[in-house]
């Protein structure tokens, strides 16, 4: 039962993430409806209407040369304001809280997913130093960006009543500067991540079975998985694709004086914030599954090694490969490699005898 519920939850979680994404897309679409236009013909009405739509027929010029100085009225600004103040802040908060409570509820009901056979002590190597360093660089930078970004998004209604304008603005300024500064680091580590993990994350034939069997809901057999299973691969592509979208739009926002028009910046902000909300929401699931959620998973990112039982249960095809290639190492050797055995056996024996 445990196994089934577990996989079922994973499925539900995956589909919920997808649903959220679609909802947000629709929400944006809804705001995109045209503002009601006046039907009354007033003097020069056609001209001013065109001005309002930023579609003046002839040449629009200004002696003042700067960003958008020849745009008299940017009507999209109003739509953007509406998006940020009504859709983004409200739905964003709901999405984040909902995902958080679903995870929390699941943890309360189901608890930690233990390996059915317990740990064997025999380990296999899974991630190199470089891969782990990269993962944690990305993770730390992501957490920092998420925190600072959320402060800028939700800070006004939450913190200003608590801290007052002056103190909050110090935090907000620090958040903004930090957010701008760490953004490019996120992009760099994301690109490195793309290169070093992409080969193992290309969908393969086994993944189709994973999907067809609903990740194991139907039938009682193991869900098959290679080095990464279908769910992990999907998470990878979410990170890469949405991450790249966030980074690209972020770069547009971070340098406002490059000459891009305001509409481009406003659209970038929409992409940036929706992408961020989705990524934060899904990452909460990833963080839960990687730490508290499943026994033995965090080990792979801490030491680079995993228990063979863990591999057999979550990545059976990869585990078989490890068995075939004789890549298992004993618990003792593992402890040695990790520098955990400081005392050598002969010495401790001698010390025992002395006592």
């Amino acid at each position: 039962m445990s196994k089934c519920t577990w996989i079922f939850f994973r499925q539900v979680y995956f589909f919920i993430s997808l649903l959220i994404f679609l909802c947000l897309l629709l929400a944006v679409d809804a705001t995109a409806s045209e503002p009601a236009t006046s039907k009354v013909n007033s003097p020069g009405s056609e001209l001013w209407m065109n001005v309002r739509k930023n579609m003046a027929t002839g040449k629009v010029t200004s002696q003042v040369k700067s960003v958008d100085s020849n745009v008299l009225i940017n009507s999209y600004a109003q739509r953007w304001t509406q998006f940020r103040m009504t859709q983004l802040i409200n739905y964003g908060l709901i999405v984040l809280l909902a995902v958080f409570s679903i995870i929390f509820l699941f943890y309360v009901i189901r608890g930690r997913v233990k390996l059915s056979g317990g740990l064997s002590g025999h380990m296999v190597h899974r991630f190199t130093d470089y891969e782990r360093v990269l993962h944690w660089v990305l993770a730390i930078v992501f957490l920092f960006l998420a925190t600072t970004g959320l402060i800028l998004l939700f800070g006004r209604p939450i913190f200003i009543p608590l801290l007052g304008h002056e103190i909050f603005s110090v935090f907000a300024s620090a958040s903004k500067e930090g957010h701008n500064l760490f953004g490019p680091i996120f992009l760099v580590s994301l690109i490195l991540m793309l290169f070093s993990f992409v080969r193992r994350n290309i969908y393969a034939r086994g993944d189709l079975t994973w999907l067809l069997r609903g990740g194991g809901i139907i039938g009682k057999s193991h869900v098959t998985g290679g080095f990464f299973n279908m769910g992990e691969k999907t998470w990878y592509w979410i990170v890469i694709l949405i991450g790249l979208a966030i980074s690209a739009s972020g770069l547009i926002l971070v340098s406002p004086n490059l000459g891009q028009s305001r509409i481009i910046m406003e659209l970038s902000h929409v992409i940036h914030s929706i992408g961020a909300i989705i990524l934060i929401a899904v990452s909460m699931g990833h963080m839960y599954l990687g730490t508290k959620g499943t026994e033995g998973t965090l080990e792979s990112m801490k030491t680079g090694y995993v228990d063979i039982k863990w591999a057999e249960e979550h990545h059976d095809r990869w585990a078989k490969e490890c068995h075939d290639n004789n890549r298992l190492i004993s618990a003792e050797d593992y402890a040695k490699l990790q520098g955990k055995i400081i005392q050598n056996a002969k010495v401790s024996n001698a010390m025992e005898e002395n006592k």
Binding site: V133, S173, E177, L181, I185, V188, S189, T303, G304, G339
Partner: protein, 213 residues
């Protein structure tokens, strides 16, 4: 009140600790040179020492593939920090006003940003490598982590105060710098200075034997 303390007495205290600590540490190394080597030398110790001070900036060719991450991250961090320290406009202005009386051309804002990106990414990689690699995890001490984190905090507060308009953020940076300066002479951070005599000693030793090291 706190502002006056951070800008005033605490700042001078940290400077005194920093400089006297360095002079003491370096003095106890430089002025207590070991006794003369009596064996017949094959090469020059002095030229060996000078050469090694510079040759150790580059890794051995055969070694490089095994320590690529440390080399790249190490250079990113150290060069980035060096640029931030000596070529950031506010730093030059500060040095000019309080110490030197002259300044030099600061790097443009975009260069500052790039330098700090490099420094942050480098330090982050180095510190994570320290935690995640069994070798460096085994040999690292609390000091190493404190030094890494303190450096990170100094850089972070500096960059958070980039807008240069919030006194609180500037003070935070100043305060973290002061902690850093006080911690410096008592810690691993001293390697910024002691690497010179260390390389020189080793270089001299090898130089006498006619080996380039």
């Amino acid at each position: 009140m706190i502002m006056d303390f951070i800008d005033g007495p605490f700042w001078y205290f940290s400077l005194i600790v920093f400089f006297s600590g360095i002079i003491w540490n370096m003095g106890s190394i430089v002025f207590a040179l070991s006794k003369v080597d009596l064996s017949v030398s094959r090469g020059s110790a002095v030229s060996g020492a000078i050469k090694t001070i510079f040759t150790r900036f580059a890794a051995d060719k055969g070694m490089a593939p095994h320590i690529r991450l440390q080399i790249i991250a190490g250079y990113m961090f150290h060069l980035g920090l060096f640029a931030l320290l000596f070529f950031a406009a506010p730093h030059i202005l500060f040095l000019e006003e309080h110490f030197l009386g002259f300044g030099w051309t600061p790097m443009p804002h975009w260069a500052f940003i790039i330098a700090s990106e490099f420094a942050f990414l480098g330090l982050l990689i180095l510190w994570l490598h320290r935690i995640l690699n069994p070798v460096s995890r085994l040999i690292s001490t609390a000091d190493d982590h404190i030094a890494s984190i303190l450096t990170f905090v100094v850089m972070l507060t500096g960059c958070l105060a980039l807008l240069e308009s919030f006194t609180a953020l500037r003070l935070l940076h100043r305060f973290s710098v002061e902690l850093f300066l006080i911690y410096f002479p008592f810690s691993r951070l001293m390697h910024a200075f002691t690497f010179i005599p260390s390389r020189a000693f080793t270089g001299a030793w090898f130089g006498r034997r006619g080996i380039s090291s």
